[in-house]
Symmetry: D2
Subunit: 448 residues, 4 copies
C-alpha cells in the first residue's frame, strides 16, 4: 500500500530513515498527539477524568487501517479527519462516554503538524548520530594528514599545493557550521502546534493556553508563544538548514569523487561486501557514498524551493501550501540523512594515497610554482615583467617536457638575478604551503 | 518496509498512482526488462535457446524480497545489482545452465531506465484518463456558460465583465495545450535504454543494434538511435511538461478557490460523502480538489528544478545525477496525476451560481464600467480629460454609495455632452463583453 | 551598457537597491578591496611603504571603463583579472614602482568575494531600515486592532472569529523571527575572503594570517578562521534567510490582497499619487505593494535553489558554481529589499475597515459558530450526535437563509436541552475569541 | 541607473544579449507596440487617421527618461502606466488631437507582454546563431574523431572504451533535440498579447478581433486565438526548453572540464588572448567556456522553477505572478545565450589529444576489459565463475601492477581453457567498441 516503493528511494536513504515515515510511524505519531491531548485535558478537568485513559488505550496504530485512512485523505483534505473518525469509533467500542471527547478542542492540522514535529524529533537523533560519525572520521583525517602534501586544484586545474589535512579540516568545519544551523533550526521548530479551528483555541474558552502548555509538557516540548500553523517559517528554516548542509556535504563528495578518478587515484572509498560494485564490470570500485551525497545535492535545492514557495498560505489556514509539505519534508529529511550516513561510511573507511598525491604534484613539473617564482622575481623586476617571463617559462615547460626550475635556470633574464637564489627549492611543496597548517588548526578549533 | 507512508503522500496522489510505484510494480518492471532481454537474445541465438524461457519463468516479483534488495541498493548504488544477483540465484535453482545468461549484455542502468519507461507508459494511460474527464467537464462548463456574465477580476480587483464560459474555455485551452505537450514528451521519452557498460553494447560484439531493436519491439516501444543513459533531456522534457501543465491546472484551482470564497460565492466544488469536510467545523465545504491542485502547483516547480539540475552527468554514466531521479520522477508523476484527478472531480461536480455572479457584478455599482465611460467620453473630450473625470466620478461612487451611471448623469461636464447618450446602458454587462464570445469559441476550436 | 534595464527589474526593487549593484558601486567595491589590501601590506612592510598610497589613489571607479572590463570578463572568467590589469596600468602611470604591488598575494576570487561582502554590508543597512518601518507599522496595527473582530478564514472558507490585532501580531512575529535570522546570517557571512591562489596565502610566506587580520581590520570586518572561497555555506545561509523571510512577507501580502478584494473590502493599501493605478481603468486601487511582495515570493525560492545547487564546488576553487552566484545574489538582495520596502509602505498606510469586518462576519449568519454550538451541545449529547445535528442545522441556514442561532432554537432536539441556554449569545464574536488576545500579547513580547 | 551592473552578469552573458534587455531596447520595444497599435487602429478607422503617424513619430526611446519611468513603475505596478503617460505628453506636444488616442483599447500588460515577445524574437536570432556555431563545430569533431579511441568513464571510473566521435555525436544530438524544442517553444510563444482591461477587448466593441489581427500582422507575428495574459504556459514552455537545453550543454561542459584536468589531459579549450587566464597563476589555461556553461547549469533550474511557480495567476490578471517574470525571463535568455556562445567558442577551438586518450586507456592495464574477458569466459564456465575469476584477476592487476591479459594468462583456471584463445587481443580497444561507430552515425543522422 506504500505510495512509493522502497526501491524508488533506496538510493536516497537508509532503512531507519525510511522507517521514520512508515505507515506505522506516521499513524502512531498522530495517535500519540491525540492521546497526549486527551490525557492532559482529562488531568485538567477539561474532559471527564476517564476519557484520557480510554482514548490513550485506543490510540495504537495497530488498530487502524492505514490504507483506508489514506483513501479518505484525498477526499477530506487531511489524514486527521478519517483518523479522528476511526479513533472515535474504536474508543466508542471500548468506552462509550469517552468517545465524545476524542480530539477535544483540536483541529486536524494541530494533529498533523504536531505529529510531524514528533517525527522530526526522532529524525534529529538519527541525523545527530551520522554527524557524530562524520565529525570523528573527518577530525581523524584532518589530524593524520596535517603534513600530507597534495596538489591544490582550482577551476579543475593544478594550483599551488595544499595539504589533505587542510582539505579535510575545511570539509569538517563546513559540516560543523552546517550541523550547528540544523541543531538551531530543530531547536526552533520542535514545538507543538495547538490552535483549534481558527488558531484561537476558542472552543476551550479561557483555558486554551493552560491546555496548550500542559500538552507541550506532556510531549516534552517547549510551548510556543502562539499557534504557528499559518506561519511555516520555522519549518522552512529547518528545510533550508538541511539544504545548506547538503550543499557542503555534496562539496565534500564532489572533491572525493574527483580524487578517486583512476587518473588521479589519491583517495578511495572503502569497498568490500559488494559496496559500489557493478553488475557487469568486475573491476569497478565506485564512489558509492559520493553518489548518494551528490544525488542529495541535486535533489535538496528543489525541495527547499518547493517548501519555501508554499509558505505564503492564506489567512488562518492556507489552501494547498501546507498540504504540500509532508512529502517535501519527508524527502528532505530522508535524503539528508541518507547522504550523511553514506558519507560517514565513506569517510570512516577512506584510503588516502600519500605517494600518489606527491606524484601528481610532481607530475606538474613545477608549473604550479610559477606563482611562487613570479613573486620571488617580481620584487626585483616588477610584477608585470615577472608574470610575462613566467608565462614564457611555463610555455617551454609544456613544450619541452621540462621542469620549471630547470627552464628558469636556463633563462638569461634570470641567470644572474639575485632572486634566482630563492628559486633553488622552488618546487618543494613544503616550502610553499603558506598558512595551510595554521588554517587547518584554526578550522578545527571550536568556535567560541 | 515502505519508505514513505501512503499517509505522507495521501494528499498528493491517488491510489492507482501510488500503486504505480509500489514495491511490486517497480520490481516487476525491472524483471520484465530482464525477461524481455533474455527472450529476444534467446530468439536471436545470442544466448542458448532455453535461457529465454527459464529466465522469464523466474522473473516474477513475488519470488523476491524487496526489502532485502532495497537494503543492498544503498551499498551497490543501484537496485539492479542486487536484483540481478537474486534473479540469477532463482534461475539457477530452476535451470542451472540458464543462470549464466541473466542480464546478458546489459548494465544496471539499462534495467532501471527501461523499467522506469515501462512505468511511465502506464502512468500515461492513467493521466490520459484524467485529462479526458477534465476536458469533457470543462467543455461542458464552457458551453453551458457562454452567456453567464460575471465580474472580470484583475490584480484581485473588479474589472469589466467576462463570461464564465470564456473563463472555462481559457482553462480548457491551457490544459489542452499542456496535455499536448505532455503527450509529445511521453512520445519522445518512451524509449528503451540499452547500452551495456559504456553505452556501446561492446559485449554483444557486432550484434548490439540487432538485439536493441528486437528488445524495443518485444517491449512494444520504438528503438532509439542510440543509448540515452547519459543524456536525460527526454525525461527532463517530460518532467517540464508536467510542470507547465500543473502551472495551468493550479491557475484553474486558484481561480476556483477564489470564486468559492464565502464573500464571493460564485462557484462550489461538489461536497457530499465527507469531501472537504472539517474535523471540527460542521459548516465547512472546503475546496478540497483545489487544495490538491494548488499543492501540486507548489511542489512541481522545485521537482522540475531538481531534475534539470541533475542533468549534467559525467561522461558515459554520471555520478549522483541519475541516481537522484527516481524519487523525483515518482513525485512528479504522482503529484501531477493526483492533481488532475482531483480537479476532474471538482470540475465534473462544479456548481456555478449565475445569480450570485450577476449580483457581485452589480455590487460594484458600475465602477467597472468606468473604462467604458472613459472611452465613450474620450472620443469627444480627449482621453486625459475623460480619465480625470472618471477618477472623480469613481471617487464619488465610493464616497456616496451611488452608481457610476447616476453620478455621471449628475456631472455638469457631461450633462449636455453628446457622448452622454451612450452612457444610458453603461452598466449593462452584456453590452460590454467585446469579443468575449468570439474568444470563447476560438479557444474551443481544435488547433489545426 | 547595463545588462538588464532598470525597467526589467523596476517591479522588483527600489532605486537604492538598484544602485547597490550599479556599475560604479560594484567596481568601487572591488577597488576598495585592492586599496585596503595595498594599504595594510604597505603598513606591514610586505610591499614598499609608498605603494599603499599610490594604489589607493588610483583605485577610483571613475578611472575605469566598466564596459571594457565586462567585455574581458567573459573571456577571463572573472572581473578581477581585467580590473587588476587596468588598475596596474593606471598605477604605473602615476607611480611606476608601485604598479608591481597591485593585488599582492591575492587572487581574483579574493577580490570579487570580498567586494560582494562589502556590498552586502551596505544592503544590510538598507534592509534594516525597511524592517524598522515594517516593525513599527505592524506593531501599531497589532496594538490598534486588539479588539477588532473579524472572520477567521481557513482553507479560504469562513471560520470562527479572530481579531485583526492577532493577525497583524502573527505577521509581525514571523517577520521578526525572519529578520533575526537574516541578521544572524549577515553577521556570519560578512567576512573578508583572502586566500591567494590555493587558499593558503602561500605567496605571503609566513605572514599570511597577519595580513589577513590586518585586511579584515582595515575593512572593519571580523577575520574568519580561514579562507572560505571554496565553502559557500555562509552565503547560502544568508540567501536562505532571505527566502524564509520573503515566505513570511508574501504570506502577509497574500492575506492583505485577499482582504482587499472588492467583495471582502476589509483593508486597503494606501493609494494616491498614482500608486497602484491602472492605465485603462480609472476605478482601480490595486494592491501594488502586495504585488511586489508576492512577486518576490514567487522568485526567491528558485533563486535560493539556484544558489544552493551551486555550492558543491570542486576542490580549492570550483568551476561554474561560484561563477553563477553574483546575479543570483544581486537578485535575492534586490528582490528581498524591494518587497520589504513595498510592504512597509503598504503597512504604514493601511486602511482597516472595522465595520466591514464585522459585517462580513455577520453575513455568515452564524455558521462559523457551528463549532461552538457543537461543543456546547457535545458535552450533553456526545460529540458525534452534536456534530450531525449541527450539519443539519448548517444545511438549513444555507437553504433558508436563516441564522444558525434561530435554526437551532427551532430544532426539537435542542429546544428543551440544558445546553440550549448557552446558545443565546452563540453568535457574539467577542464571546468566542478564546485565547486570541493572550496570543496577540505573547506574539508581541520580545523573545528572551 | 542600471539595476544590475554589467559586471554582475558579465560572467553569464554576452554583450549582445546584455544589449537585448538594455534600457533602450526594452523601452523601444514597448514603444514599438504602442506605435504599431496606433498605426493599425488609424488604418482601420478606429482612431483618427492622423493619430497613427503622430504617435509613431513620438514613440522613440530617446525621447524618454528611463530612470523616471522605472521610478514610477514600483508605485504603479507596471512600467506601461508611466510610459503611456509620458508618451501621451510627448504626443500632445506634437499633435494635440492624437494624444487622446495613445494606447487605445490596450491595457498595460498588453504592452509589456507584447514588448517581451518582440525582445524574445530578437533573442531567438542570437541564440540560433550560437546553435549554428555549436552544431558545426561538434559535427566536425564527431566526424574527425570517429576512430579516436578513449576510455569510457562511468561513475567517474574507467569503463570499456568509446570513441571521442561518439561522445561528440552524443553531445550534438542532445543539443539538436534541445534546440528543436526551443525552436518549437519560440514558435508557440511568439504571439502578441492584446486583450484590454479584462481580456475581452470590450472597449473596442465588436472590432476587437479585427484590430488584434491587424496588430499581429503589423508586428509580423501570428495572431493567437485569444489573449493569453492570464495563461503563461507558452512562456513557461519556452523557459523550460531553455532549462532542458542548458542541462545538455552543461553536461557537455562537465565532460570537457573533466577531460581538461591536468591528470587526464585529453582535451583543451582554446586559450590565447587572455582567455581563461589567472590573475596570479601564469601557468593556468582554464576551462573558461565550461565555467560559463556550468554556471548556467546551476542557475537555470531555479529560474525555471521561479517561472513555473508564478503561473497560477489569479483570474483575469494575476497579482505578483506575471509581475515576477521579467527579471526571470531576462536571466533565462541571457544565461542560456551566454552559455551557448561560450561553448561554441570552446568547441570551435577545442584541442583533442588522441595520444593522451590512448595512453590513459592503456594506463588502466586492461582492467576495463575485464567485462570482455568475463563475457568470453562466461560462455564456457558460466557467468558467476567468470565474474569471480575476473575479480581475483583485477585484484592482482592492482596489487602487482600487471596487465590483465598477463595476469589471466598465468591463471591455471584459464590456461588450458578454450576461451583463452580469444583473450589474446583482449586489450585492443578497437576490438571492443561494439556498436560505437553505428551509434555515432545514427546520432548524426537527421531525425525524420
Amino acid at each position: 500500500m506504500s505510495t512509493t516503493s522502497r526501491l524508488v528511494t533506496s538510493l536516497a536513504t537508509t532503512e531507519a530513515l525510511a522507517e521514520l515515515f512508515s505507515d506505522t510511524a506516521v499513524l502512531q505519531a498522530m495517535l500519540d498527539v491525540e492521546a497526549a491531548l486527551a490525557r492532559v485535558e482529562a488531568r485538567l478537568g477539561v474532559i471527564p477524568a476517564g476519557a484520557g485513559g480510554a482514548i490513550t488505550a485506543s490510540a495504537k496504530a495497530e488498530y487502524f487501517d492505514t490504507a483506508e485512512i489514506a483513501r479518505e485523505t484525498l477526499r477530506t483534505g487531511t489524514p486527521a479527519v478519517p483518523l479522528v473518525k476511526a479513533l472515535t469509533l474504536r474508543v466508542r467500542d471500548q468506552d462509550r462516554a469517552a468517545a465524545g471527547f476524542v480530539h477535544w478542542g483540536a483541529t486536524s492540522q494541530d494533529i498533523s503538524d504536531t505529529a510531524l514535529v514528533l517525527l522530526l524529533r526522532r529524525a534529529r537523533v538519527l541525523l545527530a548520530g551520522s554527524q557524530g560519525r562524520l565529525d570523528a572520521a573527518l577530525a581523524r583525517l584532518a589530524a593524520d594528514h596535517a603534513g600530507t602534501v597534495m596538489l591544490g586544484r582550482t577551476l579543475m586545474q593544478p594550483a599551488p599545493p595544499v595539504t589533505f589535512g587542510l582539505k579535510a579540516a575545511g570539509w569538517l568545519a563546513a559540516l560543523r557550521r552546517g550541523w550547528d544551523r540544523m541543531e538551531g533550526a530543530f531547536e526552533d521548530a520542535l514545538l507543538p502546534q495547538f490552535g483549534g479551528a481558527s488558531g484561537t483555541l476558542a472552543s476551550l474558552g479561557d483555558r486554551g493556553i493552560e491546555v496548550a502548555e500542559a500538552l507541550a509538557a506532556e510531549l516534552e516540548l517547549p510551548c510556543p508563544e502562539a499557534p504557528w500553523h499559518a506561519h511555516r517559517d520555522r519549518l522552512g528554516w529547518l528545510v533550508s538548514a538541511c539544504g545548506v548542509y547538503i550543499g557542503s556535504l555534496a562539496k565534500m563528495a564532489r572533491d572525493l569523487a574527483l580524487l578517486m578518478q583512476h587518473e588521479v587515484g589519491e583517495a578511495a572509498e572503502p569497498s568490500g561486501s559488494g559496496r559500489g560494485g557493478s553488475s557487469t564490470m568486475p573491476h569497478k570500485a565506485n564512489p558509492a557514498g559520493c553518489a548518494v551525497a551528490l544525488a542529495a545535492g541535486y535533489r535538496l535545492p528543489g525541495l527547499v524551493a518547493g517548501f519555501l514557495s508554499a509558505m505564503p498560505g492564506e489567512q488562518e489556514r492556507g489552501l494547498g501550501g501546507w498540504h504540500s509539505e509532508w512529502p517535501t519534508m519527508a524527502g528532505v529529511i530522508q535524503t539528508t540523512g541518507g547522504a550523511m550516513e553514506s558519507m560517514a561510511e565513506a569517510a570512516e573507511g577512506l584510503s588516502v594515497d600519500r605517494a600518489r598525491m606527491r606524484a601528481n604534484l610532481e607530475a606538474t613539473r613545477g608549473v604550479v610554482f610559477a606563482e611562487r617564482a613570479a613573486t620571488l622575481l617580481a620584487a626585483r623586476m616588477g610584477r608585470d615583467a615577472a608574470h610575462r617571463l613566467l608565462e614564457e617559462a611555463v610555455r617551454r615547460c609544456a613544450a619541452e617536457g621540462r621542469h620549471l626550475k630547470d627552464v628558469l635556470a636556463g633563462m638569461p633574464e634570470i641567470a644572474g638575478h639575485p632572486g634566482a637564489e630563492g628559486l633553488r627549492d622552488l618546487e618543494s611543496p613544503e616550502a610553499y604551503l603558506g598558512s595551510a597548517e595554521a588554517f587547518r588548526v584554526r578550522l578545527l578549533e571550536p568556535e567560541e
